[in-house]
């Protein structure tokens, strides 16, 4: 294992060396420009980017062509005598006016593209995105669908204990599902600090700000998987909240929406009437769980708490309190259930009753009280959580 890693490291060295020695061949694979666009917005940005890049390059070459010619031709070592001029009004006016005209030339297409991007009218679908430390929540406003999207790269890969997968850090448990060839409007906000939602191939990046609802739109050309990342520093795990969009053909998308409906209805019903359908979540809430079951399930649910409270419950004081030996996890059970279900105002601690099932909450509380260096001994049944909804 370690030898393989060592060899991989060696190979990277070689790659880097090769890059320095043979830049052109290697760069071809790495991508020197914005990624190929997958939406009309991204395509327009790419055209604009290429155009201004070209203008800048031409200016650069002309100006420094003159400078390097002068450095070559007007050297003292070539015996060049210094001329003592220091003004030329005509020239100075020319090189003030020409750049201004070039700027006007750049401003026109930029303005046109911006007007195009800002027009969010006539959209066919609205998706509300909410940023959390450190995950995204997606809500389909017309369809009553909502879910969280978390990083799915295993901890072991990040800590170099396992080889890294192809989509390392750019993979999630629930991708946002979108239709191709439809104008999609996004509404964007945040639950805690500022985040930014960005998929480069869509050509959209916008900040998710608490207290604000921002909007933007895109129109994806073709089905596929598209990846991006949070772009605004949002704390410790800013580098670990990727964005993945699964784009389906419009028909597939409609079918997906359809398939989501019954589940959603059932979920709403569990909230209202605890003992209806054969929906598994409801069944879980009703039956009696054993300590082992709760602990085992709790360990997997606790993965969601690790970002702040630490793998071993050590937390990140003083921002994120430890769970080992804390007042909450070793004190009265009531307070513990309350904080997990309802969160703590003005902190990152979210009301998890909105995100987790009764069984999840019961299990994770049981786990927190009997693992992570704690051994209170009590356990919580999912039915108790259901009763407090």
């Amino acid at each position: 294992m370690s030898r393989m890693r060592y060899r991989m490291r060696n190979m990277r060295w070689l790659a880097a060396l090769a890059a320095v020695l043979f830049p052109v061949t290697v760069f071809a694979e790495w991508g020197l420009n914005l990624p190929p666009p997958s939406s009309s917005v991204a395509a327009r940005i790419l055209d604009l980017h290429n155009a201004i890049m070209l203008v800048c390059l031409v200016i650069f070459i002309v100006v420094f062509g003159v400078m390097f010619y002068s450095l070559y031709a007007h050297r003292k070592s070539r015996g060049h005598e210094a001329h003592q001029f220091s003004h030329n009004s005509k020239l100075e006016v020319v090189w003030t006016v020409i750049p201004f005209l070039i700027l006007v030339g750049m401003a026109i297409p930029s303005t046109a593209t911006l007007l195009y991007m800002e027009d969010t009218t006539e959209s066919e679908l609205t998706v509300k995105i909410t940023g959390y430390q450190w995950k995204w929540h997606y809500e389909y406003l017309e369809h009553d669908i909502g879910f969280f999207s978390n990083l799915s790269t295993p901890r072991a890969q990040i800590e170099n204990r396992e080889p890294k997968g192809e989509h390392y850090l750019l993979e999630v448990d629930n991708a946002v599902i979108l239709p191709a060839n439809r104008k999609i409007r996004f509404l964007l906000t945040s639950n805690d600090v500022i985040h930014a939602w960005w998929i480069p191939k869509f050509g959209v990046k916008k900040d998710a700000i608490p207290g604000y609802i921002n909007e933007f739109w895109t129109n994806v050309d073709s089905p596929g998987t598209y990846r991006g990342q949070c772009a605004e520093l949002c704390g410790k795990d800013h580098g670990f909240m990727p964005i993945v969009a699964e784009v389906l053909s419009p028909e597939e998308f409609d079918a997906w929406v359809e398939s989501q409906q019954p589940k959603q209805v059932a979920a709403v019903m569990t909230d209202a009437v605890a003992s209806t359908a054969e929906e598994p979540a409801a069944a879980d809430s009703n039956r009696e769980w054993s300590m082992d079951e709760l602990m085992e399930h709790g360990k997997t649910v606790y993965f969601q708490c690790v970002a702040c409270h630490g793998v071993e419950g050590q937390g990140v004081p003083p921002t994120f309190p430890p769970l080992t030996g804390s007042e909450i996890t070793t004190g009265p059970l009531d307070a513990h259930i309350d904080i997990v279900m309802n969160g703590k105002p003005n902190t990152t601690m979210a009301p998890f009753k909105l995100q987790l099932s009764d069984a999840d909450i019961a299990a994770v509380i049981t786990y927190e009280r009997n693992a992570l260096g704690n051994s209170v001994g009590d356990l919580v049944q999912p039915s108790e959580i259901a009763a407090r909804r």
Binding site: Q84, S110, E159, H167, A196, D207, I209
Partner: protein
Amino acid sequence: MSAAHTDAHDHHHDHRPSGIMRWLTTTNHKDIGTMYLIFSLTMFFVGGIMALAIRAELFQPGLQVVNPELFNSLTTMHALIMIFGAIMPGFVGFANWLIPMMIGAPDMALPRMNNWSFWILPFAFAMLLGSLFTVGGGPASGWTLYAPLSVQGGAGVDMTILSIHMMGISSVLGAINIVVTIMNMRAPGMDLMKMPLFVWTWLITAFLLIAAMPVLAGAVTMLLTDRHFGTAFFDPAGGGDPVLFQHIFWFFGHPEVYILILPAFGIVSQIVPTFSRKPLFGYDSMVFATAGIAFLSFIVWAHHMFTVGMPLAGELFFMYATMLIAVPTGVKVFNWVATMWRGSITFETPMLFALAVVFLFTIGGLSGLMLAIVPADFQYHDTYFVVAHFHYVLFAGSIMSMMGAAYYWLPKWTGRMYSERLGKTHFWLTTIFFNVTFFPQHFLGLAGMPRRIPDYALEFTEFNVISSIGAFGLGLAQLLFVYIIIQAVRGKNKKATAQVWEGADGLEWTVESPPPYHTFATPPTVK
């Protein structure tokens, strides 16, 4: 030349305490300038070590060297230390040494305040660095301290806020001193439009400091009261507005950007004519361009925040205003090239650095123009493209101009030449490794790598490897810089003449090298 005679006379009046008390109590602009420069160089290495820790972590995907919390502290501290600890005090050091000597004044106008504004700094930075050792670590919200993220975090954030207050006081005091000195202490005949361009750029920079630093003080004070005293300036739950912080911060932050670069323009405008053996081309337009940039710097701040979701009219206004900055900046570059044109050019180390500043700063300037284009900025914003952009203007612009300035004026200050061979080696190592470090970051940004992340997707590996190798080379090359300075200061090298450089022009070159402790006690007459 009558000035030199008077100076020799003054030598007998150099009463000053020796040892540490000399430096603690000094009111001499040369001593204070030296302390500022040593402080700046020290902070340059402290911030540089943090940068190397960052680059070591980013050498490979995965977490190896630091954890994400410390990584965020390191990026935050690296920026604060380099901006407030290395670049700003560095330029103030040059201003202290040079402005009185360039305008024929015996010292700064307010010498005790000068002492005070320096001695605040070591305490401010001790507190900032001390925050790393508090529970919860140093500030981790980026040097921009955006709320609400900066409302999280422990005592380290409060220490940072207080140290920013102290740095702000120091800067404002220093700036007031510079304005008063330039306005009141010029030698007879030294009209404003005869002042060396370095003095002009510093005069304008000082006004920017006086206008901008209190705004930063306001922003961080509001942050402090939000954190501890129940206010909700930036908390939407209490009716506040997180974006308000960004507006206030960048209203300071954009003038700050020019505070960090205008003195560099001044330095280049001193060095290029000397080694072209020609007067500066377009002096008047240089002054007007500097003033124009300073004015524009106050109406472009929101181009740092195009993605917050401003109204269309706001985005258009800030885009157009920002693009306009290219005009006066272009004028400066054209003037420098025209200064070289048909000169008699030689390539001593200061000239090499000045040329690199013009060349590399222009790359940063052009990428800045690209960043001004709002739709394109939506792709570049908060990526490594931005990181590359501001290192091209801040490292290649500000830091390398100071290196050039050190080589240019060191013989005047120490009376000894530095080693030209080592100086050129230092130049080439710095320039090459700088580009190896930062040029690939343009590509990383375009490919989609966000900034401020401790770990990255595999497709970004190769350019990060190159960038990290370059960073270590760049860091090591600076040890040579220290060696060269020490060598020159210890006086083993060839003696420098008063003129030092064949083409040098200005009052500072009329006094002997090294200059006496007090220069121009009797003002020289400027024709």
